[in-house]
Assembly symmetry: C2
Homo-oligomer: 224 residues x 2
């Protein structure tokens, strides 16, 4: 199951490592609730289905010292990983586009648990302006730039229709936003100093459908 | 901006191609609403910020013939890509775990537009059982296996707490589920004939936070 590793780095950490660390964190949390006080890196490897050498290498980046034979203390490892991944800090964000997906994200308690505090939503729909969705106030999009500056917001969650995705991106960048979490299937373009994080849910659907089809065809040919 | 391409294939299509096709689709939809009847592959390339040769190569997989000089008819390309990516079919699914994220997904109209029809949600919370969330009925998790078989459901959306993720995966697999769309940060393990599609929202948050930090440090050093 080895795949070629991307050489992209985020700061000093390879991006694939950053993608895997949250898996380890989840698994160690599970072990902790099951009463395990220590966890070794081979145990994490088998738990998440990743090569043991890779887990050891990934954990070497977080610079937490495991003990020979017993491994890492679960509580310490959890705290360390959460801190390392930025989940313990409060990152304030605005959400742009309070449609069905946007409302769903406002309601998701997971974002808060993982360090993202959504302070407000923005939309153009008159029936939404001035209301709260899941306890988060919704303002008119025309107030966006002023509020970004007043509250010194650096992160925007983009859940607008695809036709507005690039226009809204340009507007966010002009207003001083430094990171855009893009949930639209649109490939937005932003200046190099703005972080764009794509979460392409619907593109994942296409991948899943195509994988299912391929698996079905394999079975049809008796290869499964 | 060239990055090394993964060699993974889904059926006969390279996975990176499958990931990019939805971007092209979104962009061509935008052009269509702006009144463009034709679109060339270099135009798509500049619109989505991908190398033109790569776009041409990706589009060669979908086997739709463009015309010299004018390129593809936008309407035909949209229809073709939507069909190719599975968005025009109805894929029936169950959603497991009607918490804040699960409820949000049930409300998201985007899933339906992209070919996924969520027929029911499942949970253990008594106050949810027998109700509807965004028009979707919620059943007790104990009815899961029976309903999967009765409705011949092949796809499950997993939005349970991480501590239940693997247990529920095992249960879904035993009940005959063939594809799991995993929204938990837990790295679930399933037999090779079951498609697992991870949408690791919270892992993406970690990536975004770390990228922001790295960008901030670059600026602090005057390199930005």
């Amino acid at each position: 199951m080895k795949t070629k590793e991307s050489k992209d780095k985020v700061g000093s950490i390879p991006e694939p490592t950053l993608r895997r660390l949250p898996w380890y964190l989840s698994f160690v949390k599970l072990l902790q609730t099951e009463g395990h006080r220590y966890v070794s890196s081979p145990r994490i490897a088998s738990g998440v289905g990743v090569d043991a050498a890779l887990v050891a290498k990934d954990l070497s980046y977080v610079k937490l010292q495991g003990r020979t034979r017993v491994g890492y203390e679960t509580t310490a490892l959890i705290e360390y990983l959460e801190e390392f991944l930025g989940f313990t800090q409060r990152h304030r964000a605005f959400l742009i586009g309070v449609g069905s997906l946007g409302s769903g994200l406002l309601a998701d308690k997971g974002l808060n648990q993982f360090g993202l505090e959504v302070r407000a939503g923005f939309d153009v729909a008159q029936e939404l302006i001035g209301t709260e969705v899941a306890g988060v106030p919704v303002h008119h999009i025309d107030e966006l730039a002023l509020r970004i500056q007043a509250e010194e917001i650096k992160i925007a969650i983009l859940t607008v229709p695809i036709l507005q995705a690039q226009l809204m991106t340009d507007r966010l960048v002009r207003a001083g936003i430094k990171a855009i979490w893009n949930f639209t299937p649109f490939r937005i373009q932003a200046p190099a100093d703005v972080v764009v994080q794509n979460t392409s849910m619907y593109a994942h659907l296409a991948l899943m459908f195509t994988r299912m089809k391929a698996a079905g065809e394999r079975q049809g040919q008796g290869e499964a």
